[in-house]
Symmetry: C2
Subunit: 289 residues, 2 copies
């Protein structure tokens, strides 16, 4: 829900309020939903809706930001998009900011349609794919959304593209990063951070110092912690030096599966397990400042 204020300022406040740069990814997968929930109904849409509502209530005391994965909702067709809208509304009701993980990447009028669609379902910000150029990013910022453009992703097979070296010595990922930095410089909020952030995987922390030097004002949305093997120490190399609060570290660290599919201990409910897991990661990430 874009407002006059900068997304980056609202994000820094949400992180400061939570005391931790944790972001919980909401990736509902039917086959992984808790047994206790699956025994209640066979209807996929009802199941996914109930799961997402439960996740939000379970993490709202520990996180300031959630990141629903659009693909998991789109999988259910139009009814899934309806559940995505409900999930976002519920997140706002609990005071959470929403990053819509949609990795959209198209230009001009098409980008404006995607931006209007994201705003229409209530997203505060969105992930974007920059391969088509600046016109695939600018319309989202102009529409008042925050954005995180892919720079260096956490999957192993991204190296073949993102680590390839250009004639001038920089990698493709670094070339994209410099475009993100330049585009983002026109959208800096009061806290010194840009409304245009970047996706930088925790598993690629070897590239972290260089990417941080190229993108000093970007919030890095960092996937890959937990299930994908990235650690809190990997994240440390991605933070902004000299930050005075956790909200100004310039990282938003996402964990999806290891939080939302946390195994309940004996006599623990599935939502208790999610709460415990979110609290534990939030605590670990507090050590970054």
């Amino acid at each position: 829900m874009p407002t006059d204020s900068h997304f980056s300022d609202r994000l820094a406040s949400a992180i400061d309020d939570a005391g931790s740069p944790i972001c919980v990814g909401i990736d509902p997968m039917l086959e992984r939903l808790p047994e206790a929930l699956r025994s209640l109904t066979d209807d996929p849409a009802e199941l996914v809706a109930a799961f997402c509502m439960g996740v939000i209530d379970a993490v709202a005391d520990h996180a300031g930001v959630v990141k629903p994965q659009s693909a998991c909702f789109e999988r259910l067709g139009s009814i899934g998009v309806g559940i995505l809208e409900l999930t976002i509304a519920k997140a706002h009701e609990r005071g959470l900011l929403v990053v819509l993980d949609a990795k959209r990447g198209d230009i001009g009028s098409t980008a404006r349609h995607y931006a209007a669609g994201a705003i229409g379902i209530g997203a505060d910000s969105i992930t974007l794919n920059p391969y088509m150029g600046r016109s695939a990013i600018e319309p989202f910022l102009d529409a008042g959304l925050g954005a995180f453009a892919l720079a260096r992703t956490s999957n192993p097979d991204s190296d073949e593209i993102q680590s390839a070296r250009l004639k001038n010595g920089s990698t493709i990922g670094e070339h994209i990063a410099s475009i993100i930095s330049d585009l983002g410089s026109a959208h800096i909020g009061a806290r010194g951070l840009s409304d245009l952030g970047a996706v930088v995987g925790a598993t690629k922390s070897a590239d972290g110092a260089r990417l941080r030097a190229i993108m000093p004002d970007q919030v890095f949305l960092v996937p890959g912690v937990g299930a994908q093997g990235g650690t809190v120490e990997d994240v440390r190399s991605l933070t902004r030096p000299g930050a005075s609060s956790v909200g100004e570290l310039g990282v938003l660290v996402n964990s999806s599966r290891s939080v939302i599919y946390a195994e309940p201990a004996p006599r623990e409910t599935w939502t208790d397990a999610i709460s415990r897991s979110a609290a534990a990661l939030a605590g670990e990430l507090r050590s970054l400042i």
Copy 2:
């Protein structure tokens, strides 16, 4: 609707049956819908649905393929995705193949969700963004969908990324093209074409010969003809040499705005104008063989 047969074979047949490699892009934009339609109702969803049905009936005798732009439907939220489903069903009813223009680009399990979602709403194929790597493409092919991955797009600002030169002398676009060619080689149909095609803009035809050399088996989905300034001569440089039928030229030439928003002549209905415009472009493209 994936079947056991190769998408590339069904595509070649559809183009041969139409006698032309024309693809009509369905990009419904409320503000551009025909006056005659807008006078009937104020409901955006009804208007878009009626427009899409009219477009399909108007072009079905001239084209074998349509390409709905997902963003234009997503803009209307869950109801828009419902209209997209209806539009695809109507296209199939009229014997048309469907390329879902969604430019999705995410990896692993997320890509599998997107593929299942595209199959669920009836798409035969989908456009993809390859920036994250091979794992952002393979799951769609494995699910039985055809795919067109972005290589060299038609917008002017794509040059900054796609034309940047690597140490080995090739451009980023050519590097991506070589990955597309390699991935696609495992999915070649009876007509010698791959189920994995590439998006190559008509406005970038200067790069065409080189891209064709790198991707001999790919069908190029070619945007940029018409409103964006690309011509049929630009397309000629992208075709496969020695093709024995129009379906084996290896090009699928898309036009959206200049067909579906064709201005009606005096005493012509809006659907007549679309039919006339589709027939004209189909005729022009026939000269490619």
